[in-house]
Structure formats: structure tokens, C-alpha cells
């Protein structure tokens, strides 16, 4: 009996059950990559044109080729990697602390009405405050230490992450919450199974914005904290400027730029994956 009933799926159901065309991942990667590559080439061309216009001397503004040569040379030295490594370690620590703290604060604000009234508006204020403004205080409190740098990174990233998660929680469709409660989910279980997964897209948006703030804050902080014998990206920039070494300066800037783009594209992929999962991607062309 059951077997006979199985083909009863109506026409509309059968149509909807067609599998989505699976596109080859290589083609997808390429379609995401070529506009970025094109933009990079355009940027290099403009850069070269400015150099050729003779606006500044080659020593003040070297062209792309010598800079890339210098970068290739730098990449053969372990010191360079040590600098990048320190910076990446700092951003990883600061960002992780910011994400954890911001998540806890956002959930508390969402759960507790008093917390919302108290901290909710502060969050907006904090978000618009340039995090480098925390730096003098951080130095007073923690001296010129790793802690001071971490504090600035956290203060830069946390408000954006918290705001993203909070808005995600606030905008969960009430129907989904009713569904969860009707299935017997309450309190923490409702958060774990319904509210937090539903808030994920907005949370990723907040994380992405928080990353940008964290990266900027770290660069500012590294330019200001000059600790001896500690090579970091900010330090490399600063010493290149002190030595009037424009090639080195621009080579380091290229590294900063590339790291920024790389992380951004990770968030982009995450966002696309979530939207594909939810069916929010629309028709692929």
C-alpha cells in the first residue's frame, strides 16, 4: 500500500524535487577570482602610470616592478615572516577574545531587558569610536605591552561583532521561535537549536565587520608601539619610513593589502555557503 502511494507526489512536488545543477567548483572559483585579478591589474597599471608621469622621484615613489622584486627578496628572509607571524598572532588573539566577549555580551543584552536598556545604546557609541582612541589609556593601564595592543584590537572589533549578533537575534522570525517552543525547546535549548542558528547570517556579517575594525586597530597600534627587537608588520612599515626606504614601505603595504583581501574572501565564502544552505542565493547564472 505504502509503496503504491509513493508515486503520488504531484507535479509541482516533482518539479521542485529536481536536483540543483551542480557547478564545477573550479569554474566557480574562477568566476569569483577574475574580477579581483582584473582590479589588481588595473591598480598596478594606474600605479605605473603615476610613476611614469614623473610626479615624484623613483626613490620616493618606486614603480610596481621594483616593489614586487623587493617583496620577493623579503620573502626569502625569515625575519620578514617573523614580523608577519607576530602580527597575525596578535590579530588572532585579539579577534578571538573580541568574538567570545562580544557573543556573551550580545546574548546577555538579548536575554535581559535591563542589560539592553543599559548597554544597548552604549554599543552604538562604542562602535563609532575609533578604537585607537583607547590606545593612550591602554598604555597607561598596561604599558607598552602586548596587552595594550590586544586591548585596542578587542575594543575595535567587539562592538561590531556584538551589534551583528544582537541584530541577528532580534530579527529571528517569530514563527521560528514559536516552532521551537512548540517542540519543547525553552531557555538555553531554544537559543542553541533555534535562535543562534537563525542569527548566524547576521553574526557572520558582524564578524566580517569586526575583522576589518580589528585589522585597522592593530595596524594603528603597531605603528605606535615600537618595542625593541620585535619585528611586526607595523614595525616594518615604521622602520622603512625611518630609513626612507620607499620600496620596502610599499612592499609591506602590499602584504597588508593581500592579507586583508584574503581574510575578506574567507568571510565572503562563508557568507555564500550560508546563503546557499538557506536557499537565499537566488538563481545562479
Amino acid at each position: 500500500m505504502a509503496a503504491e502511494l509513493a508515486p503520488q507526489l504531484s507535479l509541482s512536488e516533482a518539479l521542485a524535487s529536481r536536483p540543483h545543477p551542480v557547478r564545477r567548483s573550479a569554474a566557480r572559483v574562477w568566476s569569483g577570482l577574475w574580477p579581483k585579478l582584473g582590479a589588481a591589474v588595473l591598480l598596478v597599471v594606474i600605479w605605473q602610470l603615476v610613476v611614469w608621469s614623473g610626479w615624484r622621484t623613483q626613490s620616493a615613489l618606486p614603480g610596481p616592478w621594483p616593489v614586487l622584486e623587493r617583496l620577493a627578496n623579503d620573502l626569502r628572509h625569515p625575519d620578514f615572516y617573523a614580523g608577519i607571524g607576530l602580527t597575525l598572532r596578535r590579530i588572532a588573539v585579539g579577534y578571538a577574545i573580541a568574538a567570545a566577549a562580544a557573543s556573551i555580551v550580545a546574548i546577555l543584552i538579548a536575554r535581559i531587558e535591563l542589560a539592553r536598556r543599559a548597554v544597548g545604546s552604549l554599543l552604538v557609541g562604542l562602535q563609532s569610536m575609533p578604537s585607537i582612541a583607547w590606545f593612550p589609556l591602554a598604555i597607561l593601564l598596561l604599558q607598552r605591552s602586548e596587552g595594550a595592543i590586544t586591548l585596542v584590537v578587542v575594543m575595535g572589533a567587539a562592538p561590531a561583532i556584538a551589534a551583528g549578533l544582537l541584530s541577528g537575534i532580534d530579527h529571528v522570525h517569530p514563527l521560528l521561535i514559536r516552532v521551537g517552543r512548540a517542540m519543547g525547546a525553552d531557555g538555553l535549548r531554544l537559543y542553541r537549536h533555534v535562535i543562534l542558528p537563525a542569527a548566524l547570517p547576521a553574526f557572520v556579517g558582524g564578524l566580517k565587520q569586526g575583522w576589518a575594525f580589528a585589522w585597522r586597530s592593530l595596524m594603528s597600534a603597531e605603528l605606535l608601539v615600537v618595542a625593541a627587537n620585535q619585528s611586526s608588520i607595523g614595525q616594518l612599515l615604521q622602520s622603512a619610513r625611518n630609513l626612507n626606504d620607499a620600496q620596502q614601505l610599499l612592499a609591506v603595504m602590499v602584504v597588508i593589502f593581500v592579507i586583508g583581501i584574503a581574510v575578506d574572501s574567507v568571510f565572503g565564502m562563508l557568507d555564500t555557503a550560508i546563503r546557499r544552505r538557506w536557499g537565499l542565493l537566488g538563481v545562479e547564472t
Binding site: A6, E13, R178, A182, M183, H193, V194, I274
Partner: protein, 263 residues
């Protein structure tokens, strides 16, 4: 703490011995404040549903039908009166209301998990339940990859996963095309027969109510209470197009029009 599967059967058997009614609603009144005004959604609704009975509630919009289900499911609170459900309740919504980030099986598994079913058997049970609503092979689809009818089948499987005694359905097939709806009527009737669930089915479609219900309750509009009860004694399975069904549905529709005219 919820009793495990085996224990539950005993509990509900005991209840079945002691309780003839799965649902009893007594002078139920629900009011919502709307700015300065107080809106009465339900005003003294009183009725009972026997264990294993399939009862349909028909009413025009504004008759508090959804409010009634929400109160019975424990999502809204009554302002006055009482609503008693003997046993566990599952609610099926108008939109399928599946969680969009979970697969069909994942949605069913979540209901199992929230009921306390151990992780080792969840997937197997979910596949079995999806098979019961004829969705074998669609377990790994996400809601956006399913048609409206299929989504409601998943919602049905999810409700079954809650192992409820009473199934509350809030215009579940209202947004479906005629053929899908017809198929789901058969599906629901079959599941009801096999499981002896008690079903309270809300709709604004008199034919659908007569097609499915042992009994149809017509609700008044703004505020809602029971205006008329119709016992449907047609043999099952019934056809939406049968003339006998049309006669009964016609009388109910007349009564509904009368209710609408009162406002």
C-alpha cells in the same frame, strides 16, 4: 523530565483509561491589548474533543482559531477560563515553518532530540518517519529545495516525531494547490487511522472540514466561540467532490456567511 518512549505508552494508556477526553476547553477567553483597546479573540469558547477524535474548527478570519491552537499548545495564555490537553501536543503551522538551515531529516531529528531520544537512533527514526509521509529519498533536501506540499509532509513527520497524543493543525494546507492538498488529506487520514491520534484541525474551508472531520465546529467571528456543531457521519474515505459532502459543507458555509454578516 520527559518519560522515555516505553514509559510514555504506559502513561498514556493509564490516561486513556481514566480520561475519555483528549481536550477540554471551558469558557476560554483570550484578550489582547491593542494600544488602548482590548481585543477579544475568544469569548467563552467551550467544547470537548474525545480521545482519537478528528475535529475540525471552521471560522472566518478573526474567529480566534489560531489563538485557540496557540493556547492549547501553551504558546499563549488564556485571559479567563480553562484549556486542558491530556497528553502531549504537537502543532503544525500554516506555513510549514521548517528551520531553513536544517535538512528535512535534520528538522525531524531536532524534534526527536528535544523529546530526549538518544542520538544513536535519531537518524534512523527520522528516516522512518519521513518514509511514513512518503518522503523517502528526500531526507537530505533543505526546505528551499522542497515544494509546499513536501514541506508540509516534513512538518507532519516532525509533529509525529514529537510523539504527541494531540495534533493541532492551523490551516496547514491553506497555501497548497488542489492536488497536493487532496493527497495530503489522504495522507493525514491514513496517519490518523494508523495512530489513533486526536486531531484538532483549523481551517476556513468548509469542504475541507467536512472531508476530514468526525465533527465540525463552526466558530463565531470576533470574538470567537462555538456557534454550531455538525456531526459528519459520511463513510470514509470521503471525496471532496461527493454531493453529500457538498450539502453539509454548503450548510456550514451558509452559517459562516451569517456570522460574517453579523459583524
Amino acid at each position: 523530565m520527559r518519560p522515555p518512549l516505553g514509559g510514555k505508552a504506559i502513561v498514556s494508556n493509564l490516561l486513556a483509561l481514566s480520561e475519555k477526553h483528549a481536550l477540554s476547553v471551558e469558557r476560554l477567553t483570550v484578550a489582547f491589548s491593542h494600544g488602548e483597546e482590548l481585543l477579544l479573540a475568544l469569548d467563552g469558547a467551550t467544547f470537548e474533543v474525545k480521545r482519537g477524535e478528528f475535529v475540525c474548527v471552521v471560522g472566518a478570519s478573526g474567529s480566534g482559531k489560531s489563538t485557540l491552537l496557540n493556547v492549547l499548545a501553551g504558546l499563549d495564555r488564556p485571559s479567563a477560563g480553562r484549556a486542558h490537553v491530556h497528553g502531549r501536543v504537537a502543532l503544525i503551522f500554516q506555513e510549514s515553518a521548517l528551520l531553513p538551515w536544517l535538512t528535512a531529516a535534520g528538522n525531524v531529528e531536532l524534534a526527536l532530540e528535544l523529546r530526549g531520544v538518544s542520538a544513536s537512533v535519531r537518524q534512523e527514526l527520522a528516516y522512518e518517519l519521513l518514509g511514513r509521509v512518503h518522503l523517502a529519498g528526500f531526507e537530505k533536501r533543505r526546505p528551499h529545495e522542497l515544494s509546499g506540499g513536501m514541506k508540509q509532509r516534513v512538518a507532519l513527520a516532525r509533529a509525529l516525531a514529537q510523539d504527541a497524543d494531540v495534533l493541532l493543525m492551523d490551516e496547514p494546507f491553506g497555501a497548497l494547490d488542489a492536488i497536493s492538498r487532496d493527497l495530503l488529506h489522504e495522507e493525514l487520514e491514513r496517519i490518523w487511522r494508523e495512530s489513533r491520534l486526536t486531531i484538532l484541525f483549523v481551517t476556513h474551508n468548509a469542504r475541507e472540514a467536512v472531508r476530514l472531520g468526525d465533527r465540525v465546529m463552526v466558530f463565531t467571528s470576533r470574538p470567537g466561540r462555538v456557534a454550531q456543531e455538525v456531526q459528519v457521519n459520511l463513510p470514509r474515505p470521503r471525496s471532496l467532490d461527493s454531493p453529500e459532502l457538498a450539502v453539509i459543507a454548503g450548510r456550514i458555509t451558509e452559517r459562516l456567511k451569517h456570522e460574517m454578516a453579523v459583524i
